[in-house]
Amino acid sequence: MRVPVSWLSEYVDVPESLDDLADVLTLGGHEVEAVERPTGGTSGVRVAEVIDVARIAGSDKLHLVHVTDGEATHEIVCGASNYAPGDKVAAALPGATLRGQLEIGRRQLFGHTSNGMLASAKELGVGDDHAGIWVLDHDAPLGADVAEWLDLDDAVLVLEVTPDRGYALSLHGLARDLAALTGVDLRLPDAGALPTGGDVVPVTISDPDRCRRFDARVIRGVHVSPSPAWLQRRLVAAGMRPVSNVVDATNAALLETGNPVHAYDLALLAGPAIEVRTAMAGESLQTLDGVERALDSDDLLICDAGGPVALAGVMGGAATEIGHGTTDVLLEVANFTSRTVLRTARRHQLHTEGSKRWERQVPPEAAPVAATRCAGLIAELAGGVVTGGADHFPTPVERPVIRLRTDRARARLGLDLDATAQGALLESISCDVAPETADLLVVTPPAYRPDLVAEVDLQEEIVRLHGFDRVPARVPSTGQVGGRSPAHEARRAVRRVLAGGGWMEAMPYPFIAESDVDLLGLPSGDRRNRTIALVNPLSKQEAVLRTTLLPGLLRVVRRNVNRQLHDVAVFEVGHVFLPPTRDEPAADGGPDGTLLPAEPQRLGLVATGAFEAGRHDRPGRASDVYDLLGACELVREVLGLPAFEVAATDEAPLHPGRAARLRLDGVDIGVVGELHPRVAGAFEVPARTLVGELRLDPLIADGIRPRQAVVPSTLPPVGFDVAVVVDESVPAADVEAAVRAGAGRRLTSCTLFDEFRGDQLGEGRKSLAYRLRLSDPETQLRDTDEAVAIEAVARAVAERVGGRLRR
């Protein structure tokens, strides 16, 4: 809502300082987003009268104009020709400034000196008409300073009006609140006498549930012409386009009262007779914006004897529009319910100044005020006479009676206000307040506040009018220790340990393209193929909910690589969306038992390029599968989990020889590995891009498990190496398990330090060398203990993995 301060001041004394005014409104719930002076900064422009106009020889456009400001005659060269001797114009004389930007001087044109210029409406900021100069009202005071005469320095407040406060979309409503908030008097016009027949157009309301009131007034003998300058200036400041005196009067009445008004050319109305009804099959209407609209049977219409003439509450029809030839006018000042207008406006995607107000409720009591004001303004501006009218108000709307428990209000607001004080605050916005008992007030809200229907609405008004700044600040005890859930703490630890380990946390959208899962080449039964589509996706690339984190992370890699950032190691902790299963159930679907998707959490890892950057003293190191496995180890370690069981896997979308599946206590956790070369190609990421995706929920479900301490032995340990020769096909994990088993309970560490292949081992054999350390807290170990252990390891590798020790 754009509020010209001069206009608001007609109804209430506003605080002198604009900052104070803005603060009062903002803290009263009408946030002032900006204070503008759209026509400010103009000086030296005077009302002048054209004396004569002559074509300048040699120019096809320019005219030599003489004007007088009552004191002197000025010779001005002008490009426009939409004026004649005797017209009043705005002359910007040398030294003038237009809107703080354009400085006016003398100019030589075609051998003539132009002593300034004649201004257009656009140059003065009062309109967008730049075709000609602005011809002022005939009664404009000759010689007057235009900025003063038209109040061009008038400030405009730009208000954000909340959806509940429809009254704030009117100057009257804002004036009422301002009066209540600052304690000054109001100067609002009343409805005057209701129309009592005479020259009437019959009105039938066929749908009284949606059209609650219809005040129709007939005005005859109007002369349609542009509005006077002051009105045009105000309408533009309020964000509306001046059209003609009749139409501008309807808009002024709307801005003042908040009740939309529509004017029809009475001569063009068939009948003339009006019916308010919903649309019939096949009906259509060309609206004022020139669009031919097919009507829906739910659309409420204003019809004449021939059919639809307006989309009720939204927009009038083109056929009955006020034009230059209009002499007789039918004014429609009706009342529509918000739902009907809301649905029609949305259906036709037609949001107008009118529909915006209906959507926030307009009380039926506003109609006669708006009608009287509009009719009066038309008579004043266009010279018509109100010859008759009728106010159709079949069922007056009952105002709610609300019982306010003042003790409850006191407790819920935390305000020490007694019943009298609460009542006084409500009376300041024109509520009728009657005490019933010491603590109970019976309150009838005023008609202009249809938003006040329940006790909480009154509580809100009490604290708003009292002032939020006067509410004491207390901090309640929660009576509990705050905290995160164990799973949340665990997830946080996972993020931190990965970030500490060189992985960047990424956060892509959870939407992927349906084709993304196809590119992964998953087997047909895989759950991840069962994506859930968005009804209204933002793009085709983001049309379904992700069932896996990988496509999003691969896109992150691709974007970075495209930007020449070749070294990427990113992780994401996030939800995927899958049809629920017993292991991964959905959240509660609410009272109607709606089935929601499951939203299990995953940890995704993707890397390409160097994992360790090169330096002057050390070359970089490309990331490989062991970096992924290392990240998994960090996670396992920080959560205090037992070791993962790692086994090779050949499943999609991974490289069949470079991928591992992880299990924890036999429960499947996920896979890590190199992306299959074909999949890497399909996602346009570098060859050998690494990916991993783990099920996070089973890892974090119990939170961070406290680790059990190992008591180190103070006796010296025994250390020795063993080299195990095994078949190439035996996984290193099995060899290590055998070595560990053989070394027995005294083993404190077992580290692979060499992997070797060579002729002396024989074809298809490899040697894995381990450094072992034994210690015992109670016994001093001797060489014999080492010898015994070596023999035990030799037996274990022979039995378990068919290996032998190199001696």
Binding site: R339, R346, V456, V535, N536, R563, A569, L595
Partner: protein, 344 residues
């Protein structure tokens, strides 16, 4: 006899002192030490002959020998210290490194700035005694709208504002307006209802989460953004408790001298409703929306509005992350350029 010894001793002393003091390097010093103080030195020779003297002479000469030996040892130590120091200064100089070469920093990643900001804000609420809870991102329209007192025709329910998804199973419901009744949650507020249904009052929870709107991405809007919801419900909670709680939390975030104000606003699920502004960078900046939980919302959560009252708020995490890190375009948060991620 002792006179000869004395002469020998005196000569050996002066010769030895000269050699030790003049030793050009540590090797020469070692040689001098061995020559003048070792087994075959004149000094040791004199010492050896002490046994042949009578007791008095032996004692006297012995003292002299010891004095000379001590003097020579001192001279040797002095010279050794000089030579070692000279050697060290040469050797350590060749060890010198350029300490201005780049440090060797272990590769370190980063938490996403939104995650980091979320956790920082949660720390404050946890400090106030709130427990952190989380809810699903795909919601039902009952939790997301109905239970939060949103009217049936409210524009927020439309496909223009809210992203809907198809049903995961069979039996797809699709309304006249295209809605399926399964919105991607438009705020973290539906978790208010879930928390109330899950637990009896008193209830103090903080709900971080990702929320969605059908917005095209630009510098100040993303279809996906983040909120932290707070909900407090207990007997006797008032608007004054809301004000105090929000003010202490905001001051913990922005500093104890932060200028704050509450401004009336509207939300369907709270009444009275307000927004909290902080004076920041020369203007009032909106931090969050809040209010007293609407009685209809308490009822939807299974609570009795005559028994308990409460307050709730929802705060935009992304906006706060922008302020914390000096980010002016929200899209940077979802682009995941590693240079951006590494910079914050």
């Amino acid at each position: 006899m002792t006179t000869d010894h004395r002469a020998t001793l005196s000569a050996a002393r002066s010769e030895a002192l000269g050699a030790l003091r003049a030793a050009p390097d540590l090797d020469a010093l070692d040689a001098a030490r061995s020559a003048y103080m070792g087994k075959r030195s004149a000094l040791t020779g004199v010492q050896r002959q002490l046994g042949g003297l009578d007791a008095d002479a032996r004692r006297a000469l012995g003292r002299e020998v010891n004095a000379v030996r001590a003097e020579l040892s001192a001279a040797e130590a002095t010279r050794r210290a000089e030579l070692e120091s000279r050697r060290d200064s040469v050797v350590l100089a060749t060890d010198a490194i350029d300490v201005t070469l780049p440090p060797r920093v272990p590769a370190r990643g980063r938490l996403h700035p939104i995650v980091e900001t979320t956790e920082a804000m949660l720390d404050i609420l946890v400090g106030l005694g709130y427990r952190v809870a989380e809810g699903p991102e795909v919601e039902t329209d009952w939790f997301n709208f109905d239970a939060l007192n949103t009217p049936p025709d409210h524009p927020a329910r439309s496909l223009q504002d809210t992203i809907y998804v198809r049903h995961p199973g069979a039996g797809n419901r699709t309304d006249e307006d295209g809605s399926t009744g399964l919105p991607l949650r438009t705020s973290t507020s539906p978790m208010q209802i879930r928390a109330m249904l899950r637990q009896e009052p008193p209830l103090f929870v903080a709900v971080p989460g990702r929320v969605f709107r059908a917005d095209t991405a630009d510098a100040t809007h993303l279809p996906m953004f983040h909120q932290i919801e707070g909900l407090a419900v207990a007997p006797g909670l008032s608007f004054a408790d809301l004000k105090g709680s929000l003010f202490v939390a905001a001051r913990a975030l922005l500093g104890e001298d932060a200028r704050l104000r509450l401004r009336p606003h509207f939300f369907p699920f709270t009444e009275p409703s307000c927004e909290l502004d902080a004076w920041y960078g020369g203007r009032w900046m909106e931090l969050l929306g809040a209010g007293m939980v609407h009685p209809n919302v308490l009822v939807a959560g299974g609570y009795d509005p005559d028994e308990v009252s409460g307050f709730a708020w929802g705060m935009g995490t992304d906006r706060m992350a922008m302020v914390r890190h000096g980010v002016t375009d929200l899209r940077l948060f979802v682009e995941n350029d590693v240079r951006f991620l590494a910079s914050v």
